[in-house]
């Protein structure tokens, strides 16, 4: 897991982009209930690193982020695109420790659990 920023640096209801040590770009979202989600920052439809700048919300109760380019919605939980289920974003592990947001690839979480 890699520390990316202080928790209160992220505005409730928005995301930030983080650059992992291996060059991976992750979009980290904080919802209004202070829950955190992390997905790949790459919009697979337009091949641009913009997902962190999308709007979050819900569709039928499922928390989502919408691509700021062509507005496809992705589940924040599974990364699956709700408008085209053949496409999905990679999901990353995210947690808060001592007020710091930490992100890692999902396998790391599973390994440490």
């Amino acid at each position: 897991m890699q520390t990316i920023c202080r928790f209160d640096r992220i505005i409730p209801g928005r995301g930030v982009a983080a650059l992992l040590e291996d060059g991976t770009q992750v979009a980290v979202f904080r919802l209004h209930d202070d829950s955190l989600y992390a997905l790949s920052n790459l919009d697979p439809f337009m091949d641009a690193n913009v997902m962190s700048r999308g709007l979050v919300g819900d569709r039928g109760g499922e928390p989502i982020v919408t691509s700021p380019l062509l507005k496809q919605a992705f589940s924040l939980k599974t990364g699956i695109c709700l408008d085209d289920e053949t496409v999905a974003l990679e999901v990353f592990a995210v947690e808060v420790l001592d007020g710091q947001v930490r992100v890692g690839v999902n396998s790391e979480v599973k390994a440490s659990a």
Binding site: P12, Q25, A48, R53, D58, R59
Partner: protein
Amino acid sequence: MSKLVVIGDGMVGRRFLEAVTQRDPSWEVTVLCEEPRPAYDRVRLSAFFDGVSAEELSLASELDGVDVRLGEAAVSIDREAKVVRSASGEYAYDKLVFATGSYAFVPPMEGADLEGVFVYRTIEDLEAIKAHSQGRRHGVVIGGGLLGLEAANALKLLGLETQIVEFAPWLMARQLDEAGGGILKQHIVKLGIGVDCGTGGTKIEAVDGRLRMETNREGVAYDTDLIIFAAGVRPRDQLARDCGIEVGERGGIITDLSCQTSDPDVYAIGEVAAMEGMCYGLVAPGYSMAEVVADRLAGGEATFPGADMSTKLKLLGVDVAQFGAMEGPLSTTYLDPAHGTYAKLILSDDAQTLLGGMLVGDAEPYPLLRASVGGKVPGKLADLLGGGEIEGALPDGAQVCSCNAVTKGDIMGAIHEQGCTDVGELKACTKAGTSCGSCIPMLKQLLKEGGVEVSNAVCEHFTQSRAELFDIVKVTGITTFSELIARYGTGAGCDLCKPTVASILASLSNGHILEGEQASLQDTNDHFLANMQRNGTYSVVPRIPGGEITPDKLIVIGEVAKEFDLYTKITGGQRIDMFGARVEDLPKIWRKLVDAGFESGHAYGKALRTVKSCVGTDWCRYGVQDSVKMAIDLELRYRGLRSPHKLKSAVSGCARECAEARGKDFGIIATEHGWNLYVGGNGGFTPRHADLLLSDVDTETLVRTIDRFLMFYISTADRLQRTSKWVEGLEGGIDYLREVIVDDKLGICGELDALMEKHVENYADEWKGVIDDPEKLQRFVSFVNAPEAPDPKIEFETVRGQKFPAGTTERSHSTPVALGTPTRK
């Protein structure tokens, strides 16, 4: 080549010319037109006083093989020689068509020829009335029928105290019964117009520079400045009488159902024709006659199909409709003096068949009722009369739009087969509702009947429409999305409702759009105050009000673009767009721009974009007003105004319209006397010319009206509904809009004015608000943990001396395509 002479170039004459040239272009056609201008829309004549110009009323079009001789009246006809003579020429004919129309009837009365006494028939009459009314205060209209009410409206618009004097015992006696006439009078008196029925003028005298009209009632006389006779029309059949063609007892050239007169080579159409003895004073039967004669001249067998004399009008803002029979075996009425409505239905003796009826004050059921005449009564009487919900049981053959002859079957076909889902699509598809618009409520009902759910709900989180949310926010004073969704919605929101609410909060002047919770609602463009492009970079557009810019500022833009390596392009809105800015560079770019005096151009927002201008009187030898200054003033007044969709404007300095103002949401065109204001124009996907809202107004009136137009739009439009669709969707269209924002019919103008005043007072440059605020600035980073590290995925290549996003340009730029030249093989 056969020769055709047409006498008269009115609405029916013009329709005939179009029909005949289309069916049989071999005729050599000469038109003798007494009036100095070609055909115009006499039905809309009164719009002249609403600022619609003579040019806009014109129906003239270039027709091949037609020689229209304006200002040249026919004076005699030699039927032996088959020649029509004017004062200056002779025209031989093989066939002759009378389309001379009517003249205004002036009852024999002493003093009817005095100065200040007018009729209401031609544009020249209206111009004379307008000129005479200057500096005067009172006018009398003789006649309380359709034309009289039109004339009274005209005098009211000219600012005169107005009195109607009608000989019949009630208003519109030909269309309404006594109770209907009474309700109509109630409405008109409320508008401040005097109504005196059962009274006839007997004598007019000039007294001390004014006029005095005596009446048939003891001791009743009117002192006034101007008198208009609007007591009906008579067919202009004198020429026919003079050459021995048969005319009717009460006037009009007698024809058979093919419009042929007693001379087989002579036809009569329109108001001058007495078809089987009957004259028709409406334009629709005249159009039918025009088609009949055009068909006959092309060898056809058409006959007059009969006339539907039903009418629906808005007179002085009051709905009046009459359809089918005026009387019958049974009738049922509903009278509501409190709301000023009256309805009467005429029924067969078994009360099963609708024969006719009339409506005053509320004509909403008119299309359904009119279409049902002769058939089954289309609903419960109580609902039909009292404005209840009417279940449409209309047969497929029933005509829904009488202007364009569209049946219910046509509409249902458009819904089911062509997939129309709203009124706009139905209009485009079937032409229904595109002329008078009275059938639009019917179209909505048919959409419902066809199973189309018409929902304006913003999204799954709010059942309300944008307009309803706007009202809720305005009335409750709620300032956050979370409170709004907790109290009025469900769930967490989405990319539809969040920006909508953000826009509403911004329209109501709630501070910087990135302040507090508002920051989380903004679409990416608003969140970064720039337009996101395909590769995740942004474009930057500083405001250049009116398109006027100093060389020094141009240099600053050039320097900024060079320093940050931005692609530059001139926009359609007379400003400069800089593309390819990385998110982390935006604050540095704007620091330089703000220091040089630039402000945000809001190219990223659903907000006012630009007000384009031509150079106007500053430089142009044709300009009649200072269009550049006006454009700058307007752009500065409305900059930053958030709205349901983007807003574009332009100001042209003369009628040549170089700024293309009529393609804008609000466009201003200079006149010699002031400004004309047009609204609801659009370029883009569905181009639409803006409609004239006001003409020849001064700057203060202009600006006040634009204020109200914008705020009324912002208060009531749907999400992402441009002004063009909004204006089209208003029931009653541009006239209704004028009633609301000029005449203040709804009593909301004060509030609209206050909202705009608040916007103007609270405006602050959004970019300055960011670069002076460290908290907001820290959001403009590429990575939260590596603020200055550029996204390595963003790459550019160079084409035509500038940079483009890498990978996108291969097909379109690497092999130049020679456009418009044949490829050599």
